[in-house]
């Protein structure tokens, strides 16, 4: 049920054109899964019914860069596959966004060797980094929500000085950790 349910059926809404466009874009982010390693498994789990990426309009995985808006780099990128990644990025139509998923794509992770790129952001622009090894599907969903926020705001929101404002979507923990250490109470009541 959207806003139309609350309105009389013959009414008119006015809005800004780019808001409608952004609404359409952010509700149908079609990802291209560039899954090269274990993070790709978690990416698949995200698309499956338990986590259901379809709730965010991003369930249509497109293996053709021409049809995708969001490049999800999931896994380590060797220097040999980097040119492929760059070519795929170039082939995507504007507007396009990039998520770097996992420690490997963002920093090289534990693979600090001659053959692994130490962070794809050295070579292609990255919008959102999703940390973790691998990130839980919730994390990736949060990354996609960050992309949606970026789309809504026509980019990352900035204050008057041009400084980036936080997107304020981080999920806060809903529990209070108890104080530690506690007294050893074995045998006592």
């Amino acid at each position: 049920m959207g806003i139309e349910a609350a309105l009389p059926h013959d009414s008119i809404m006015t809005t800004q054109f780019n808001r409608v466009v952004n609404w359409a874009r952010r509700s149908s982010v079609w990802p291209l899964p560039f899954a090269t390693a274990c993070c790709g498994i978690e990416l698949m789990a995200t698309a499956c019914s338990r986590f259901d990426l379809a709730r965010f309009g991003a369930e249509v995985m497109r293996f053709s860069p021409r049809q995708a808006d969001l490049l999800i780099v999931a896994g380590r990128i060797g220097i040999k596959s980097l040119p492929v990644l760059q070519r795929i990025y170039m082939q995507m139509a504007e507007p396009k966004w990039v998520i770097s998923m996992g420690a490997c794509a963002s920093t090289g992770g534990v693979f600090d060797t001659y053959a692994v790129v130490q962070g794809v952001d050295q070579f292609i622009p990255v919008d959102v980094y999703v940390p973790g090894c691998p990130p839980r599907p919730e994390m990736l969903i949060e990354g996609i929500m960050a992309i949606q926020r970026i789309i809504d705001n026509d980019n990352i929101p900035k204050d008057q000085d041009g400084k980036r404002l936080p997107l304020n979507i981080a999920v806060q923990p809903n529990f209070e950790p108890s104080a530690q250490p506690v007294d050893v109470s074995i045998g006592a009541t």
Partner: protein
């Protein structure tokens, strides 16, 4: 405690008889027997092990390269190539090994006549890719190989990275590449 190698592999007697002056040596570790063969003889011995009905090693399990730089025990050469063979008929496994010593600086990719071993692809065609891998990673070339190109790295990679004198993080290969920005077309 030192343990004497137990050299009772049935193939040893056979090849000792067939190649009395080839300078073969043998080692054993945990019931795995290795025959150390001079570089010039490796093709001949491999051919014999494959063809002779007493040996009948019909399966080549792997070809691997080894770099012994900094190895705690003195070795007859800097690099070695190992061939792991198996015989389905006799239920046996044996490893052949040949040592090679480089004659030019090992930091580059220049051709080194000392680091060249006869290819055994004509005996076991399955050796083609493992030999390419040994060439790619160690720079040991195989004479008469049908298609000796790098298999994992790309053609212009400036080193052989499994050599121990190659730094783990490379010599800048992973940093030097074109960068795309949001305006790139």
């Amino acid at each position: 405690m030192t343990r004497k190698p137990v050299l009772e592999h049935p193939t040893l007697a056979v090849i000792k008889k067939a190649f009395p002056d080839a300078g073969l040596k043998a080692t054993e570790f945990r019931e795995m027997t290795t025959v150390v063969i001079p570089r010039e003889k490796i093709h001949e011995v491999a051919r014999y092990l494959h063809d002779s009905p007493d040996c009948d090693y019909d399966f080549l399990a792997d070809v691997v390269g080894i770099d012994y730089m900094g190895y705690p025990v003195e070795q007859p050469g800097r690099f070695a190539v190992s061939y792991v063979l198996a015989s389905g008929k006799h239920g046996l496994r044996i490893t052949l090994k040949t040592y090679v010593d480089p004659s030019v600086d090992t930091s580059g990719i220049d051709f080194d006549p000392e680091l060249e071993v006869d290819s055994i692809t004509d005996i076991w065609p399955g050796a083609e890719w493992p030999e390419r891998e040994v060439y790619d990673m160690f720079g040991i070339r195989f004479k008469n190989h049908p298609d000796l190109r790098r298999i994992l790295l790309w053609r212009d990679f400036p080193a052989h990275p499994l050599r121990k004198d190659y730094p783990l993080r490379g010599r800048g290969e992973r940093e030097h590449y074109q960068t795309l920005n949001r305006e790139s077309r």
